[in-house]
Symmetry: C2
Subunit: 239 residues, 2 copies
Amino acid sequence: MITRSEVQLLRSLRDKKHREELGLYAVEGEKVVSELVAAGHPFEQIFATPEWAGESTHPVTAEDMARVSHFPTPSPVLAVGRIQRSELAPGELEKGLTLALDGVQDPGNVGTIIRIADWFGIDRVLLSPGCADLYSQKVIHSSMGSFARVRTLVCDLPRALSGLKAPVIGCALDGRDVRSVPAEPAAVIVIGSEGRGLSDAVHGLLTYSVTIPRVGAAESLNAAVAAAIVCDNLRRVRG
Amino acid sequence: MITRSEVQLLRSLRDKKHREELGLYAVEGEKVVSELVAAGHPFEQIFATPEWAGESTHPVTAEDMARVSHFPTPSPVLAVGRIQRSELAPGELEKGLTLALDGVQDPGNVGTIIRIADWFGIDRVLLSPGCADLYSQKVIHSSMGSFARVRTLVCDLPRALSGLKAPVIGCALDGRDVRSVPAEPAAVIVIGSEGRGLSDAVHGLLTYSVTIPRVGAAESLNAAVAAAIVCDNLRRVRG
């Protein structure tokens, strides 16, 4: 059983505005919820139909699930979590590798980049406030279990990147060859928006830019693809 | 003005079945249609509202566009093209670089891989019949202008890859380090399905597999991301 106010609350979590107000988000789907639970991700509530084999705090019927689901084809499970916002510790960006997303608006790209960060052992992912909302279902779906493992922070990028000793490396079309990137012990790799590239404020803070050598004619590479290639090249020289 | 039968025809192109029957496909959106037109892609009809600045064969009102559009928010332009299927020439796979997609079902991944192929100057992209339909809007949108430039072929992969002299390189979790891939003058790089990896039939035809070294804990990388990293590593040693 599910109350009318629960239906209202769960449905309202489709919108970022309501998620922010309530401090809650929802994620649906057997594969993604299983992976997050397996990764120890804390959920406050797990609504599930009898079809769901995992843990459930709120058993519901398939009809009730259809009322609360954000999708035309409801999954057997909808988990609700509390939004956790962390802050950068002083000096944090001087250590290890950081991916910073400057206005990456496509939620699939943001999620895929979180998964890439997890694969390459990147220490944290920063998101400018103009990026896709970290707690949208599309971001969580594309990042899968990596959402539970990668440290993510929403922050003012120009402020976070000002006065850093670690190099701030931009991904651009006119930089030095990414295949000769030096083995930076610590670095921030900045990925710009799909359409507009890097913002002026962030561009002014770059130590240098790198470019992925092009053989053919495509105008650009997808933001997540570019991020992955830079990570691969940096890990190759740096370990 | 747009006739009732035109409305029916254009709407029917949402479905692969109807696209195949009619031999036609539709693509909507100012950016993607502009890029394709600029790349010399042949369209048979271009339906456009007065808002569209480019060429148009069928001027229509915004109301008519809303009736034919495949999207909740119609764009000012909808272009119709004829499906072109090409066949592999004898010995074609012995020359240059080929990306072969074995059951890549996500249309965004298929489109992104076509864009990656364009960036890295890959000579052709093969798609198994189980891949997302090349002529779905989502594929064309994700590939952008690269859709017009990259040679794409739908074919029976095990048949196409049998008895090749060029190495067939799989992208897998248990192969040799992709960073030591040899400078193959010709090669076919096979990318498996997002969920199930390579099919048994294709797996049996591999010369060897490559793996992208993992530092963190993600279970896998997105298919397009993996394809891009293999292309980058092969271009690095091969030119």
